[in-house]
Amino acid sequence: MPIALQAQQRIISGIVKDTAGNTLGGASITEKGMVNNAASTGDNGKFKITLKGASNTLIITYLNFKKQEINVQENLKNHEQIEVVLENTTSSLDEVIVVGYGKKKRITNTGSVSTISASEISAVPTSNIQNALSGEMPGFFAQQRSGQPGKDASDYFIRGVSSLNSGGNQPLIIVDDIEYTYDQLAQINVNEIESISILKDASTTAIYGIKGANGVLVVTTRRGVAGKPKFNIRGEAGAQSPVRTPKFLDSYNSAVLVNEANVNDGLTQTFSQNDLNLFKSGTDPYGHPNINWYDAIMKKSSVQANTNLDISGGSQSVKYFISGGAFTQNGGVKNFSDGNDGVNTNYFYKRYNVRSNLDIQVSSTLSLRLDMTARFGDINQPYNQNVISNIYDFTKYHPYSAPFLNPNGSYAYAIDTKSQMPTINAMLATGGYSRQRRSDYNVLVGFNKKLDAITKGLSLIGRVAYAGVVQNTLNLARPYAFPPSYYYNPADGSYHLNTGVSSGGYTLIGYRTIGNTDLDNQRVNAQLYLNYDRTFGVHHFSSLLLWNQESYRDDQAAAVPQKFRGYSFRFGYDYRQKYLIDFNAAYNGSDRFQASSRNGFFPAIGLGWNLAQESIFKKALTAFRIFKLRTSYGIVGSDVAPGNQYLYNQVYNQGAGYSFGQTDQTQGTISEGALSNNNVTWEKAKKFDVGLDMNLANDKISLTVDYFHDERYDQLVTRQDIPEILGIGVAPENVAKTINRGWDGQITYKDNIGKVQYSIGLVWSVAKNKIIYTAEAQPRYPWLAVTGRPINQPFGYKNIGFYSQSDLTNPNVAKPITAIPIQAGDLKYKDLNGDGVIDQNDMGPIGKPNLPNTTIGVPLRLGYKGWSMNVLFQGAYGYSLGLIGTAIEPFQSQFQPIHQKRWTPATAASAEFPRLTSNPTTINSPAAYMSDFWLIDAHYLRLKTLEVSYQLSRKSLPLKINSGRIYFSAYNLVTWSNVTKKYQQDPEVTSNSAGDSYLNQRVVNLGLQVGF
């Protein structure tokens, strides 16, 4: 019988399902012992394969599912066709996580890693991955600072910040084992991504040595799976609208407040009662205009669209994944062009991505890979104007400055302002655009040679990767020219040309093109490593030995190339998957440091204990599938150095400036540059992490918790305690130290009620840092010190209400020595040192840094038959948001409802805002007297993402379409925040930039996905 079977080529058909009974498309079927005989399931889960070998066994593999071997005959005893039920491995023993240079099983991992599969976030309607991760991964902190198309990628940090160097906190980004920059990551199409991991502790980041101190974000892209070509097309379109739109007072209400401020300042009132009446009645739209510039300029919503196509498949010898994508995001500015010049001054972002990932199995032991990807993006914005800032800026436009257009169609201008600029619509209609055009190219060539011939489990892997970026800005604009604008006098119907500083004359000059190269850089990375992974009975060894070199060249700045070289080593051992030990180390260097002290050694150790594998434990606590304690400790580095690349060299500067000799011309001079620091070296972080991984109740509950304590030392900062009598600046020194500690984790419960599958999770991240030492001089009062406080702690006065009339004459009430005498209704501050004077000595720490110290996410997933729903609530706590200037200050910002709650003698008890004044130098000015009045102790909770989709049944689909799905998705759908109670500002904007930055957007989106 076996002999007969061997000769026979049998066609076997079957179906693959998951434990819930859903069919699985794309599962890979291989005949055991015949690696080249493979098939894959269609989207209906069905497959056919012709058996050629003798094993009579099929191997079924599918990502995130447990591999199964099926004996054909055994299976067919019970079924008409082969039926395979695959067990989902998510949160189970075979779950795999991506770490540096490879993958690890979750069960034997000793480090702190969070992983998410891209399919879980691919429906988030945003252009970049950063915006989709917030609240999904423990330890990931992100703040979206702007909503501008193409520039809306969130700032993000892993486990908060711990370096005092600006730029010294950015995580290392590794895409397919090659380093990327922040902007390059933002360019990647989410559809190309397979999975994302963040590496948080020393055990996982030590392998990156001198670059690992800020954590590592590891992205892997999708690769082909053997089988018939699978086409997948996704198209979606949606509408964006601001999360919060500003509310401005109309002309009448603004004018009333202006008059009141005039009285407060001892000036004559700007508006007569007749003016006010006309503003109120609106009967004189040209003499007394009433324009809400936000409504006049901005659209209610704008369009966003995303289309993706990918094809994957191949044989066992060649596998491919090819994808293309087009993303368009339009801006919120109305179109004011006269239609003739075709110049688009609106904001927009267009991006095209292509990727081809090929795997070639040359022989049974040698495989090659060739990955090529290119990304082309255009970011458009109005030339030389920030529209949002102009709309907010009261010094440029008042609601009563000018009509939208004059009666004869000519442009008006803000005649009552100092700059007398033509109206925003005039500027947008004629000002031209500034367009950034960026091209990114990446090529990766690699091989993987199995060296089982030498010893089993050994392989050699080599890669050479190239990344190039070119970015040019093309401006089509009329530099230094304004459009012609006129003041129309409704009294006599006359027109007067604007002859002020922003005069455009009578005619518009022609457009000119101005171009420049912003970026032109290339990075070449080469890696060669030996991998060893072998199990001897109960002993499992894994090891890695890596040689890595990188060269970065910036051709735009014609700067010195930056070089990096390193060796990394990893050794792992486990006994019965019970006792785990990992040793990771890197020895690497950077040319930022003196040749003699260029290389550093960064070791880390990780230990783990799978209690659930202990026999005693197994009996006692049967509910636990996984119960693992793990801890790690190690040292990693950061080679980010502020300023001059070569701090160990004192460079003399050339200049000019002294007139000398008979000809009386300015002569050249040479002067000393900052003193060098011969001992400059990298920053280091001692990272300690202890964690618990737990799965119980049949994997229904899974839990991961980590506590970490990082000590960042040898930080490069410029000493603040070197007296100026030294007479020269100094290079930063490796002196500062901070600690950063906190805990993060994730708990997920999943189950089903009948046919309804659901899961609910909680993701949390807490990170609090403190400056231990920063070479700060001991200040006169302890509250003036930054040492002992969080990084970027704001300092200012402590607001204690408003000065009352009686305070002014009361000598016991502390007052500032200020040029402008204080008045009742001015902000009153606490006299911290009790000397009766409000001055710099009273500026203590106020509020918190702008980066949240706590962020949470609540992911919910529901599935019922073809329906599924994904919801993510995301919240951030423990930060301060500063709102000043064009965002809120009277006479710098448009008048807003909060200004109507200003202090007046009548409303002194209930006032929420100081008395109005047009003088920008009073004690009420945050520029001169920053205080916590201008800070909001902010927090927010968002319905960050929502996706509802319906999988169409196979029968209802026409042609050869295998699968079809329609979905609705949304981003930033609902926001609850204490910020928005008082001000119409998004809670994620950067402190002190509200009123200037492009409004963060909410997106609602409809999409269709088909596969065939």
């Binding site: 050479v464 001079t669 007296p723």
Partner: protein, 582 residues
């Protein structure tokens, strides 16, 4: 067969990867590109021309040489004395200096600590490293030029120490050590006496190696000369002998703030130092007062009065910054408003104070019969300028009212400007030399006279100085040939006369501000309101003068006699003692 092919292929792959890895090794930078100038190039031991080294010296000049025109956010330092106020709107920084609105933590606008210590270091770097450079250049007398260049830097360093000394009292003396990042710089202040001795010694030691004025060639025009070193020494000794530091120390036992006891011989040293410079015969008063500021010195020009200066080039900036605002085609911002207090200090053209009975002063025609230096120092209503009379009556072209910056006292600055009283062609300014003169001969004479009066009383030498200055100013000698000066004055009468003469002669030269401090009369000088003139012109052309207060200065005695050491400097350096009361 296939295996061999694969293996060859694999070896090539490994080779390519490995060669990528190793090829980078060579291009590791040992000397960074693009950063060419380092110590060994700036002071090149192979360059007998010393090109870079001399450019380094020019940088020392650049950071160390004061340039006083409108240097303090647009204003003269004198706008913080009782001689002038700023015309700027709001509360300009210079006014805060006059009203005491500053502290150690928020320093006043004349906050020179950091920049002068930068200059001191630059000078020291040159002084130490110039010896590495085999400079071949010779002075006209055949001596090598290198000691002269080195001495120039030592002069500039000494000048910086003096500038610090007069503001802060004793300051840390850093010597010739070039400190690096790892060196301890938490140094204590040296005593006032140490600083004076150091500066004087430096001046003594460098004088011989410096160029004489006659050795200055046109290409070296503007360098430090022997005369400069002697003038600095004379001024330092005068300050050291002055009441604030000699006998009137605000913290009597504190050696940082002055001498702890009085010694009359300090006046003698000051007089001798001035005298030895005067006896050189190199310098003399210019025949015309106003020419002293706008002509160049030998060998380029004919100015015999300049001793050390910073070249300002030939331009119209002083005129436009300070000129009356009503000359629209010429341009004028009128930033400086001289006070009535200063105007009243000018005697009449017979040399008598305006308060003297026989002085011919007429309050209804206040600018008539005045010391001719008045019209070379300030412009007043009716003053001919650019072919038309200045109008500083209320509503006049140069005092129109409203928000535009204009004189607050009805006076504009005239000193340092070209002779634009009447010009041919259109009424605009033309380029004028605006070298800032740090030392000029008239000051040395006044130093000599003051020190002599204090040591020996009002001798004939003292009178002679006044006669010479008043003669040059154009004051009538009078029938008694005494230029209106009372004969046989007591020492203290003469002191008052000399102080007033100094105020008039050296107005706006950054002298008065420090003079009232070193004389220890600042609390009196600042205790009276600063005034201006309110001028009304009736329709019939008749003019009415009214003196009005324009600013009430504040002087906290004794705190404000010295500047506070910057707050950060005190907290960064436990050895740095703060000045009293700050």
């Amino acid at each position: 067969m296939n295996n061999i092919k694969y293996n060859i292929f694999l070896y090539i792959l490994i080779g390519i990867t490995a060669s990528m890895l190793s090829s980078c090794k060579k291009s590791y930078e040992t000397v960074p590109l693009g950063q060419q100038i380092n110590l060994s190039l700036a002071f090149d031991p192979k360059d007998s021309l010393g090109t870079e080294a001399l450019e380094f010296l020019l940088n020392v000049y650049n950071v160390a040489t004061p340039y006083g025109y409108n240097r303090l956010s647009g204003n003269f330092l004198d706008a913080a004395s009782d001689d002038a106020i700023s015309s700027a709107s709001g509360i300009p920084d210079i006014q805060k200096l006059a009203t005491g609105a500053f502290s150690a933590a928020s320093p006043n606008v004349d906050n020179v600590w950091s920049s002068y210590y930068t200059a001191i270091r630059s000078a020291t770097v040159f002084i130490v490293y110039i010896n590495r450079v085999p400079l071949a250049e010779k002075l006209p007398n055949g001596n090598p030029a290198r000691p002269a260049y080195r001495s120039e830097a030592r002069f500039l360093r000494a000048l910086m120490y003096f500038e610090l000394l007069k503001r802060y009292g004793g300051v840390p003396l850093l010597g010739d050590t070039i400190r690096q990042i790892t060196d301890n710089v938490q140094l204590p202040r040296n005593s006032f006496a140490d600083c004076v001795n150091y500066i004087v010694n430096e001046c003594n030691n460098i004088t011989d190696s410096l160029r004489t004025q006659s050795q200055v060639t046109p290409s070296n025009y503007g360098r430090v000369t022997q005369g400069a070193a002697m003038a600095l020494k004379a001024r330092v000794l005068l300050y050291a002998a002055s009441p604030l530091f000699n006998g009137g120390n605000i913290d009597p036992t504190n050696p940082l703030t002055g001498y702890t006891s009085y010694d009359i011989n300090r006046w003698k040293l000051a007089a001798d130092a001035a005298s030895s410079l005067m006896s050189l015969g190199t310098y003399s008063l210019m025949p015309k007062y106003s020419d002293a500021f706008i002509t160049q010195a030998t060998p380029i020009g004919s100015n015999t009065e300049m001793i050390f200066w910073r070249q300002g080039g030939s331009n119209i900036s002083v005129e436009q910054n300070n000129g009356p605002i009503g000359y629209t085609s010429a341009g004028g911002n009128g930033i400086t408003s001289p006070t009535q207090n200063l105007v009243d200090a000018f005697p009449t053209d017979s040399g008598k104070a305006i308060t003297d009975a026989g002085s011919q002063y007429d309050p209804n025609n206040p600018y008539n019969h005045r010391d001719p230096r008045l019209k070379m120092t300030v412009m007043y209503n009716g003053f001919l300028w650019l072919n038309r009379p200045v109008q500083t009556f209320d509503g006049g072209l140069d005092k129109p009212g409203g928000v535009i910056q204009q004189t607050k006292t009805s006076y504009y600055l005239r000193k340092f400007m070209g002779s634009f009283e009447s010009v041919s062609g259109s009424a605009i300014y033309s380029n004028t030399y605006h070298d800032w003169i740090s030392f000029r001969y008239a000051e040395v004479m006044l130093n000599f006279a003051e020190a002599t009066n204090e040591f020996s009383g009002p001798t004939q030498d003292v009178y002679n100085v006044l006669y010479a200055l008043r003669n040059r100013a154009g004051i009538f000698s009078g029938t008694a040939n005494n230029y209106g000066l009372k004969q046989g004055m007591s020492q203290s009468e003469m002191r008052v006369v000399l102080q007033n003469e100094r105020r008039v002669e050296l107005a706006f030269e950054e002298q008065r501000f420090f003079d009232i401090r070193r004389w220890k009369i600042a609390s009196q000088a600042y205790n009276i309101p600063l005034t201006g003139m309110d001028i009304q012109q009736a329709t019939n052309g008749q003019i009415f003068y009214n003196i009005i207060p324009v600013l009430t200065p504040v002087f906290r005695d004794p705190q404000m006699y010295l500047y506070p050491i910057p707050y950060t400097e005190v907290i960064m350096n436990p050895n740095m003692k703060q000045n009293p009361s700050w």
